[in-house]
Amino acid sequence: MEQIIANGLYLGAQYALIALGLTLIFSLMNVLNFAHGQMYVFGGFVTYTVVVQLGLPFVVGLFASALVLAIMGAAIEKFLFAPVIRRSKRDESTMLLAAGIAFFLDAVILLAFGEKQRGVPKIVNGVFNWDMRIIMPYDRILIGVLAILLIVVFIGFMNYSRTGRAMRALAQDKMAAQLMGVNVARYSMIGFALGAMLAGLVGGLLVTITGVNLGMGGPTSVKAFLMIMIGGAGVISGAIAGGFILGMMESVGLTVLSAYGDITYLVIFATLMVFLAVRPQGLMGKPWG
């Protein structure tokens, strides 16, 4: 049981971090960023390139991933999403754009980084073993702690910085925020850059554990959507809750249901369908959006 909880917490921390960026973008711009998983993959490849190809320290790789993805996110918002949102009132326009960006990034990743699975060697060696009740490699513990730290920093930033407060105001009521002098275009761009940066950071963190490959983007996006649907789309605390709930469900399912074959995700999806039928806005979302 202890091992199941430890696995669930570790998975939950990384999932929550992935979901945060997605929900931030959704809350600010009402955009479902289907390219979020590809941004995560891109971040992983940037860290890989910096650490393995260039031989620089892991921290530099993480910083490079955050920077590259933040710039990419800002550019995507300014030159692609902002014009489309300005010209089209239809939600599906941004959805199609996001899907197009996902395919485009897949192609860029293939050309720039190749088709092979890539990984960064372990940053910490050794395995924590508590009397065979909890077995957890030290690098996973480190990444889990770093992920939780990043979540805390993000929450602090959103709650106490001027930029964070402006973005929250924008997410709550765009018209009112605009009337109070919040520059919508500027903060939308910052928000998108921050969301992309989070995706890049988590990609950089996890490349040391799971590695990274071209095909991880799509499934990562699906899981991220799952998490924000559980927690409530556009709600920061909801994304964190969704991440931990999904992590725990996966950990419990894979252990308890393993004897019945690979039915963990079948059970998770079935549970989610029933849950959404009862509470379509998710755990912490508001029915009115």
């Binding site: 088709e115 092979k116 990984g119």
Partner: protein, 395 residues
Amino acid sequence: MHKRTFLKFSALAAATVLSMPLMAHAEDATLKIGFVGVTSGPAAAWGISNQRSMETRAAWLNELGGVKIGDKTYNIQIVPFDDQKDPKRAIAGMEKMAQDGVHYVVGPNVDDGAAAVRPVAEQNGIMYFPYAFPKELFTAPASNAILGMVANYQSGPAIYKYLKENKGVKKVAFVAANESDPLSQRESGIAAAQALDLEVVSGNVTYQVDTTDFTPVLLPVIQASPDLLVLSGVSPANAPQLIRSARELGYTGFISTETGQDATVLQEGAGELAEGFISVGGASTPELASDTMKEFVERYTKMFGEYNDESNTKVYALEYIIETLKANPAAIDNVEEYKKTIDTFEAANPFMKGDAKLKYVGMTSFGQKRQVSVPLVVNEYKGGKFETLFVGQVD
């Protein structure tokens, strides 16, 4: 006079210009060879190594002046199609090949794709070389598919037997991705292990291909205390993480797979935890590789930046097609002629030292010759690279 000279010159120029396409056509006959396989997504490495092997070899042959088949010399043109590991896309790819007049196609890479394209290939007179193992594709009445590699039901028993006899393995566990290929490979692996009187202590644990943490997946498998953990049909993307998780959970036994892997990927993803990992390698080792094989590796690396060990096997399909067409030029647009040649075909194997031959095999497994003969090389990962454990042959 001037006018007459001008007219003569103009007529000559016009004749030259008009005849150029005909001359070019005569000089540049093209033989199109198709590739339908997966070149995107998690299994992209499988198909890309196919496509790049074909493109490298084709560019090399074209550089040498093309390939002489019968009286004609052909430039080889590779026509690729990414099926995205989706059987529907594989069918569309094979239909495209038929529309383009392609009669010889390498791929698809996975079982369901290979099974899906069968009707299209048979109706349109296409021979195809899948890297997938369903026996019904290669046994009569099917006759258009030729297995491009060694199947897991041929390599698996050889590996288990070796480990049983040389390493004292008694208990085996299998883990597979929840997809058709790995699941069918797991079933045939279990059957092979049981036939060797090995005890299967875990055989029903599966995982999603997009799993990011394999610890919870492997926990019940490791608790069953196997001597050998078989990663059935594992993709190069998942192998390092599975090995790493198993070792981190304290597993000290053997780990093996019947799929091809990449040493660099293992080194980056699992590091020293991958030591001793056993897998089926590309059909070449330093001891077996001829100068042609070494040059192929050099050219591939120059063209694409990095070599893939799987290309040691995947270089063969195009060679078999070209050499068989050379043996029977009538097969260039008639696969029935190709089929007639298969049983007696034999040519020098340019990729192996000595007097090795290219020939079709498969009588034992399929009852007819519907498999290319490539060496069965079983590797062990040691110190960042593969070392040959043993080499076998399929009949």
